[in-house]
């Protein structure tokens, strides 16, 4: 029987970060709880935040369950995490700048060339280009799990356009509206500085050719996209334009936005569309979402695209194994955050181990996401394991495996009252003139008892995440 770290209770004792919530939990009558839960749901519906987190697909109109029980970190816990996250975000950016430049890490033999240059996410089109401040990934979402008081592991890095930050902001907003007294009794670090910090970050990477206050725009695929709410929400909070490809055009080496007062030059594009769709002249010729000629403008320094096309080569699951190596190579530091030990099925020895230990392991597709195409050994039936064994044997390169982690639990409101449920965490690190991290993030919770899968498409919910002030 695996022991799971409970973030609130150590045996019968309440751990210090949660001391402010113990009474609140015990004193809340069931009727009040039901009322508040209904109120929260109504609020979420009204603001229209119903999209699937992390582009997982599924019904875009479905509400993601919100659990009112906050997840809490102390200041010292957070500081430690923060250092590790910033370190990782810096290393990932150094890696990107390097592999689109001279590729020193490959020359030094620290990462196999094949893994980098044959990677589907490696964009030859940006090779040799140094974006403003040398930054490729301006918003790095790092998915973390906790297994003990001091044990955190990075599950994956998201260097392209990690979504879900609107949940971090809305969860807090709604908690403050429903339980104002909690925020008077506990000193909780605010997260509402995020939109400003994001705007500052984006403005700080405006091209050298921009000689005034930079104009920033968020490029969305449109309202049919599952994360459209987040795109328009962030544009609103930052006070920047929300545009679709058809609203932009290129001329004279710059990118322009059509407005009622005529064309307006755009300096920084925070794009929420995939690389393949950015520019039909450079990538997928059938893309209707992008802007023809945008890559030529980008490469000649007329506009900055955030995150940079090609940033995805750093967050591939096969590259993930080498992130600690990146920290050592580029920063000369020891990694503060640990990776989950990972077996690469592409390696014969690893493959043998994985096939021999399937019932204990979590097996993932290298390019998969959203908890699909994944085997959780301990929770799988014999048939599921055997089916997966064949899939792995057919195409070992496509799979990696990791031990089943004993994900921590936090108290969660369930039918019967309050019960422990497994959680993960995604903080959003901003990389521009400064490397910044808002004290908080998105906590996802597996609402099904015993489940370790926190993905919203598979019964996951979200929580407000607190960092206590000192």
């Amino acid at each position: 029987m695996t022991e799971y770290f409970n973030e609130m209770f150590d045996g019968g004792r309440v751990r210090q970060p949660y001391s402010g919530l113990d009474g609140w939990m015990r004193e809340m009558p069931a009727e009040l709880r039901a009322m508040k839960q209904a109120e929260a749901e109504a609020l979420f519906r009204r603001i229209g935040i119903t999209f699937a987190v992390y582009g997982e697909g599924g019904d875009p109109d479905r509400l993601i369950p919100f659990d009112m029980f906050p997840r809490v970190f102390t200041q010292s816990e957070w500081r430690k995490l923060e250092r590790g996250i910033k370190q990782r975000a810096r290393a990932l950016n150094a890696f990107l700048l390097d592999v689109y430049g001279r590729g020193e890490i490959v020359r030094a033999g620290r990462i196999p060339a094949r893994l980098v240059y044959q990677n589907e996410a490696y964009e030859r089109a940006v090779s040799g280009f140094i974006p403003p401040r040398g930054i490729y990934s301006h918003i790095v979402g790092i998915d973390l799990v906790r297994t003990g008081p001091d044990e955190f592991y990075v599950l994956e890095d998201n260097c392209r356009t990690p979504s879900g930050v609107s949940y971090m902001l809305e969860n807090r907003e709604i908690m403050m509206r429903m339980f104002p007294q909690l925020f008077r009794e506990n000193r909780i670090e605010p997260v509402d500085g995020y939109p400003d910090a994001l705007r500052r970050t984006l403005a700080s990477v405006a091209p050298a050719k921009c000689d005034r206050e930079p104009t920033i725009a968020i490029l969305t695929p449109g309202h049919f996209n599952s994360a459209y709410y987040e795109h328009s929400f962030l544009a609103d909070l930052m006070g920047v334009e929300l545009v679709e490809g058809a609203d932009l055009f290129v001329e004279g080496g710059f990118c322009w936005m059509r407005t009622t007062e005529g064309p307006k030059k755009v300096d920084v594009i925070y794009r929420r569309i995939d690389d393949a769709f950015i520019d039909p002249l450079c990538f997928r010729p059938d893309s209707m979402l992008g802007v023809p000629g945008l890559m030529d403008v980008y490469r000649s320094g007329g506009v900055t695209i955030c995150s940079a096309p090609g940033a995805g080569v750093a967050d591939d699951k096969a590259i993930y194994t080498f992130v600690p190596e990146m920290v050592r190579f580029y920063l000369g530091e020891e990694p503060l955050l640990e990776n989950v030990p990972t077996w690469q099925c592409a390696k014969p020895d690893d493959l043998k181990y994985v096939l021999d230990h399937l019932p204990e392991l979590v097996v993932k597709e290298v390019h998969g996401s959203g908890g699909y195409g994944m085997l959780v050994g301990p929770k799988a039936t014999k048939e599921q394991i055997e089916t997966f064994r064949i899939k792995i044997q057919d195409n070992p390169v496509n799979y990696i495996a990791q031990p089943t982690l004993a994900l921590s639990t936090t108290p969660t409101f369930v039918e019967e009252g309050v019960a422990p449920r497994h959680v993960d965490l995604r903080p959003y690190c901003l990389v521009g003139e400064k490397v910044e991290l808002v004290p908080g993030g998105l906590t996802r919770v597996a609402l099904t008892e015993g489940s370790l899968v926190v993905n919203s498409s598979q019964g996951g919910g979200v929580k407000d995440t607190w960092v206590l002030a000192e």
Partner: protein, 270 residues
């Protein structure tokens, strides 16, 4: 050899169109095999956009034309002095790792026949250079030059099955066969000065380059069973014809497009 180039590309539309945007790779590469004396690229009625040299060493220029667009005319004129480097791309500055050219594309998809062609071609080869030469010969033998039987979207596999094609098909097939035996290969677009021997090939030409460890990129032209020499002018490269296209463009609108290309290469007598 000093070659003069006159290259005019016209896209005509049967109805007025919206804006046109182009990305041009129409500039002679900088390497020991050629020296640009004079070169100009212009787009009639167009506005010049951003220009840069990419990681593969190609100069790229963006252009746009405001609507309504009835025709797009791209004119290239220039003079280049060329030298025979036995096909070796010597003195070419580029940053892209050769391994990035092992990736397959739709046009260079390796089917069983191409895999087989690649493997049997290199059997018994003495070294990497010999392998590359054998691959080029094998493709030249497998695909006969015949214009009009293939089109722009014909893949390497289709051309091989057909056994006939033009320079684009030869280049695609050679690229696929080389990648099949793990040799990085890429598509090169440029011009060929057709000499008095009456070779039927068009002056707008394409060939392949194969990465030979220890030497570097070497050009191979299976369509002419040779390596590029002083009759060739190299413009740009890519994973396949689409990526290496000297002109990539999009014109908004539903009108029918008619393409007209004239290329004239002449040798300047000294």
């Amino acid at each position: 050899m000093i070659l003069t180039v006159n290259h005019v590309t016209t896209y005509d539309y049967d109805a007025p169109m919206g804006a046109a945007v182009q990305s041009l790779r129409l500039f002679p590469s900088r390497f020991d095999g050629q020296r640009t004396i004079d070169w100009s690229v212009s787009v009639e009625g167009g506005v010049k956009g951003g220009a840069f040299r990419d990681g593969a060493g190609d100069r790229v220029e963006g252009w746009s034309i405001r609507p309504p667009v009835e025709a797009v005319t791209v004119t290239v004129t220039g003079q280049v002095e060329t030298f025979d480097t036995s096909g070796v791309l010597r003195g070419h500055r580029e940053l892209v790792h050769p391994m990035a050219y092992l990736r397959e594309t739709v046009a260079t998809w390796i089917d069983d026949a191409l895999q087989e062609l690649g493997e049997s071609a290199v059997e018994g080869a003495s070294d990497m250079l010999d392998r590359a030469h054998r691959l080029s010969s094998a493709v030249a033998e497998a695909i006969a030059y015949k214009p009009g039987v293939t089109h722009t979207h014909t893949t390497a596999a289709e051309a091989l099955t057909q056994g006939e094609g033009v320079c684009q098909d030869h280049a695609h097939a050679l690229i696929a066969a080389a990648r099949a035996v793990d040799m990085p290969a890429r598509y090169v677009s440029g011009y060929l000065f057709a000499t008095e021997d009456g070779a039927p090939h068009e002056a707008a030409h394409a060939w392949a380059e194969i990465w030979v460890e220890g030497i570097g990129w070497i050009g191979f032209d299976p369509a002419n069973a040779c390596c590029p020499d002083e009759r060739y002018i190299r413009l740009g490269s890519g994973l396949d014809a689409r990526e290496a296209a000297p002109i990539r463009g999009i014109t908004q609108g539903a009108g029918e497009e008619r393409l007209d290309v004239t290329v004239a290469l002449e040798q300047l007598q000294q």
